[in-house]
Symmetry: C2
Subunit: 342 residues, 2 copies
Amino acid sequence: MDKKPTIKTIAQLAGVSHVAVSRALRGCSDISAETTKRIRKIAEEVGYSPNANARNLSSKRSSSIGMIVPSLDETSAYNALFNQISVSAAKRNYCVMLGSSHRNVQLEEQHCRMMVENGVGALIVSPCTSDVSHIKNICYGHVPVLYVGGKTDPNETCALFCDYYYSAVQAVEYLYSLGHKNIAFFAYAPANLTIRQKEKGFTDCMKTHNLKPRVYLCGDASNTIEAGIDITKKLILRKELPTAIWCASDLMAVGVIQTLRKNGFLVPEDVSVMGHDDLYFDIFPGICLTTLHTPFSEIGTAAADLAIDLTEKKATEDSLRQVFRTSLVERNTVAPPKNYNS
Amino acid sequence: MDKKPTIKTIAQLAGVSHVAVSRALRGCSDISAETTKRIRKIAEEVGYSPNANARNLSSKRSSSIGMIVPSLDETSAYNALFNQISVSAAKRNYCVMLGSSHRNVQLEEQHCRMMVENGVGALIVSPCTSDVSHIKNICYGHVPVLYVGGKTDPNETCALFCDYYYSAVQAVEYLYSLGHKNIAFFAYAPANLTIRQKEKGFTDCMKTHNLKPRVYLCGDASNTIEAGIDITKKLILRKELPTAIWCASDLMAVGVIQTLRKNGFLVPEDVSVMGHDDLYFDIFPGICLTTLHTPFSEIGTAAADLAIDLTEKKATEDSLRQVFRTSLVERNTVAPPKNYNS
DNA sequence: CGCATTTACTTTCACGTTAAAGTATATAAT
DNA sequence: ATTATATACTTTAACGTGAAAGTAAATGCG
């Protein structure tokens, strides 16, 4: 196990100074084509691999970005986001440090501190609380932070948002266009900012059509599927089922559909059900959910590019805040209401 | 935005040499308690954060490990693995660089190269092919690599395995103990090494009980749920349903159960269905799957600890290869066969 | 009291790289 | 022929830290 070769190793073999090697490998024009070729050949032969620690230290640049997420379990959207960030960062030759905070502020802070120590050029954070002062204390003035995800303060200067008010409007307009008048909105975790935006959009849009906005919130289920099941059961008992239900999440919609079907209601014939996120397209057998697609790929690409632009100090003022919109994906859990002739 | 403070900044303020600061912050005993306290106070006040690039360069250590996985989508086990690795690494003050190869060897190689350049102390790789020569070319002799996951060559010297032969035995023994004689094994992707291990375990164990090992493989479905559905449909048509089915993955079991129920069969009363992995416990409403739990947390913890031990050159010879076993999780998709009196 | 040891530092150098400035030679312009 | 310029390098210093060696003062000990 011989020592890792450095530019000095190559310099010696090539009979030039180590700086000539450094510049040749970086393709600087003041090294002759011939010398560059020779140096590159030797570098290849000895299996040279640059030392980013030294490079970053000397050049005051960085070749990595960090990302901190609340979790990466199978029901979270951060997987999709990270997947894209990883790919986009690799395209620009950046590594990504990832930390999972498990919704623990102390751990989130530790990840942030470690990543800053390790020299990330920028940080993409999906904070686990709206208060991000612990992150700002560490990063302010030193490492740019880009916020993504539901808990982000809407006033944050550098952040990527998804317009959930608009997605509510999309959902209502679509269902209304099919003839639905009796539309309900099901949501979980009422304290969540994104849920409140959806609720506001839903209520406002229903009112513009002179329809009664029926909002059902469930705050005490153990997960969002359960919440969907709970609310649906209640409405079935009370015989208050609407003709269409828009759920704040796909998993909730799955719970709703299962419960409806189990109780003899046909989806979409009796009740239309619509989701939000488009994350579990082919996981649930028999459910091909009509939903609103959140553009995770686009958001991930934008996040990686913005983070790297911030690292390289070439982010433009108007790229600092970007708003994304969901798009309608028509599959087969929504249909016009019964007895409706369009 | 003032310059980031370094140990030299602190040294000047404290009126000591920068080395005294370095040693005080690291708690070396040759700096007096009084001076250490004073230095730490100043460090706190100026918001000092150590520069790991410089530290690693000077001390030839590393404060990060890397992980490369094929993907992080909602149906993969790598999420669970990474979550634990992230937590375990944080406990020892290590950052984790994560790269998603999307099952692309070139991208996997690029991630590997970038991480090595960025100075990871060790690499945890779930390779996307059994041939890992591209990784060895980059890492051999410089960065230790720890292999995890299904594609790993069983002869690899540094690797964490799960004993899938044993999990097959566990499944068969359990079903047999309940009285099942007509047991089938359903699997997807027959080329996969882990599947072959399960198949071998299943076949061998069935034979020891003088039972006919019924193996059903499906290689052309678009995902594992589909595969479960396909095989089940075929068996229902042919009226060849066994009394118990062990599926190579939980998702497959979900597809099987849905199909059975849709066709009027009760699970577990008519047919018992068992899975493998224990990943989707509360996602599928109405399915509380009896399965074999893969100890992702333990594997993740072991992987992080081993990778860091390798980084710090204190891994013991016998920690290099570790084998983990699944454990039975009895929920409610398995019951004794009909007409069986135990 | 004088010498060894301990305490609490400081000085110097190295890690691998890049930035910046310097230099020798060849070529071009006047 | 002289001077300017371009080419192709080299030399020096710096990035922030830590290892190793050095040192001055205080303390211990016979």
